[in-house]
Symmetry: C2
Subunit: 329 residues, 2 copies
């Protein structure tokens, strides 16, 4: 039996990864690694171990759920031990030797790995799950996207900010630059000299790599909203070929990992309260842009659980595919 | 001294109109009109009267803050009495004999009135306040907009939905089709056969009339968010002429009714908690779309109080201009 270590097992994504290993039926010896502070903690049948230089001996696969700086520190140790790492941090996503994978879209890229496979940004995964069928059918050229991102995207501190401010509107924010309760904050990540945030660049940079579409343009505005869990996105897309919305809906209704939630007359459309704590990305509000009679511009709204499909579930899906490929090799 | 009646004086917009009359220094005899249910209620020094066929005798100006159906009922009575009406409902906004006015943009249109002047939709006013300088300098052609609309946009029932759901997540929604607490709902208004809502059409239809730009295209996605007050909007704009962002910022920094709130490195950008209970529309996150090297595509984020500048303050500004014009005539 193979051995799988979760690095960062006590965070929201790490804990979700353990659940997803069970759900996806992956049988393996499991080791939970975290900082010295969390060592000794009991999670299900396992005792959390401190992540040290020696942690990866005897480990076959690592699921990485740590911040970038911590990931960069332990990655050489995992590589020295000969592990293959599926990493959720953004540290290696754009490295040309590292596949960046959404299994429903580019599972075959897993085969090119050299020891690391990266899991994409959460908003990127959710948007691409909603858009990749459209891209395959009609070739996406430009995307204009506005996100509605849940507080849990900023981890435990994000949840705590909203909790504290619901009790006391004057409570000092910890995760965000401003209060988030009953507010929206048009900043996620840090700004570059062009006034674009690190989070806003991810969908273009990672989308180009995942879709193998080096010319893809994405203009993104990332906004934090007072929602506990699940990111939503309002997206307008320009394609090379004219879109047939009926054909697209038919395709989406069979698309793996997607739920077509598009019956507006009956108030049916994607919403974060419906997509939380499950793995499907909901897609709806599909419509032509009335300004473009050539039907090369469409709009949609999508939502998905950013801790599950946006992070942990996607990483465990990658791992599962990788283990199947290794078995067949 | 002239006499001004507020029709619908007990609603959120009507009550705000009374406050705005004081704030904008309009001296007049005031009469507060509402349904029989509210008659007899005391507001400041006035007793609310029932709105009947005879209510408008001796009245010079009416501020209308009623629903469409109620407005259509009393409008002939006001016209018979020779009043000039500044109406906040959507009943007459697209009527070719009715000016639709944002005073900072098209105050001169007031002169063309034939007894009714309409106040535009709240999201439309806020977006146009943010965009009209850009339009005058560079000629806007296409707009792609996603809104973040506060619950008070749906009146007292909208506020009550959020209040109730904060106490009890299972509380049945009254104003909205779904729970709004910790959720976002991509529907405001009713859907047409193209999957576009009545609210989403307003910015194009009303924007064309206000800007005198019959070719303007607006693709809008209107979303309700759990914010008490102030609508925010994420907008991407394509122009005919290349934009000079520095020149635009300089212009916006002097634009009447606008506050340039654009210092992202210091976490300064428009947010609904900052724009509530005041009249300025905040504009920020101004940036070029990196996909368009010709600088004919820019994005911005704006926010404004939809009950004040989005409704009551704008209507009272129109009335004030109208009264000045009438005095000079």
């Amino acid at each position: 039996m193979k051995t799988i270590a979760i690095a960062g097992a006590t965070g929201a994504v790490g804990a979700q990864m353990l659940e997803c290993l069970h759900e996806q039926g992956i049988e393996a010896n499991i080791r939970l690694l975290a900082s010295a502070r969390s060592a000794g903690k009991q999670i299900e049948d396992w005792t959390v171990e401190e992540l040290t230089e020696d942690s990866f001996k005897g480990v076959d696969y690592v699921l990485g759920a740590c911040e970038n700086d911590v990931t960069k520190k332990w990655m050489p140790w995992a590589q020295k031990a000969g592990c293959v790492v599926v990493d959720n941090s953004s540290a290696f996503r754009l490295d040309e030797n590292v596949p960046l994978v959404v299994p429903e879209i580019n599972a075959e890229d897993i085969r090119k790995h050299q020891g690391i496979i990266s899991n994409p940004n959460c908003s990127t995964i959710i948007a691409l799950m909603a858009m990749h069928d459209l891209h395959e059918l009609y070739n996406i050229q430009d995307v204009i996207c506005t996100t509605f991102q849940a507080v849990s995207g900023a981890g435990v501190k994000g949840l705590r900010d909203l909790e504290n401010q619901l009790k006391d509107p004057e409570a000092t924010p910890e995760a965000f630059a401003h209060p988030i309760a009953f507010n929206v904050i048009p900043q996620i990540g840090s700004f570059d000299e062009n006034g674009i945030t690190s989070e806003e660049w991810k969908m273009q940079n990672e989308g180009r790599k995942i879709l193998h579409a080096p010319e893809l343009n994405v203009n993104c505005t990332c906004v934090r909203v007072p929602v506990w869990r699940s990111h939503s996105e309002s997206i307008t897309i320009r394609t090379e070929k004219p879109v047939d919305l009926d054909a697209l809906k038919e395709r989406l209704s069979h698309s793996e990992g997607v739920k077509l939630q598009d019956d507006p007359e009956n108030n049916v459309y994607p919403m974060p309260i419906d997509t939380s704590n499950q793995d499907l990305v909901y897609v709806g509000r599909l419509r032509y842009d009335p300004a473009d009679p050539t039907h090369r511009t469409v709009s949609l709204f999508c939502a998905g659980d950013q801790i599950r499909k946006g992070a942990a579930s996607n990483a465990v899906q990658i791992l599962k595919k990788l283990m199947e490929m290794d078995e067949q090799a």
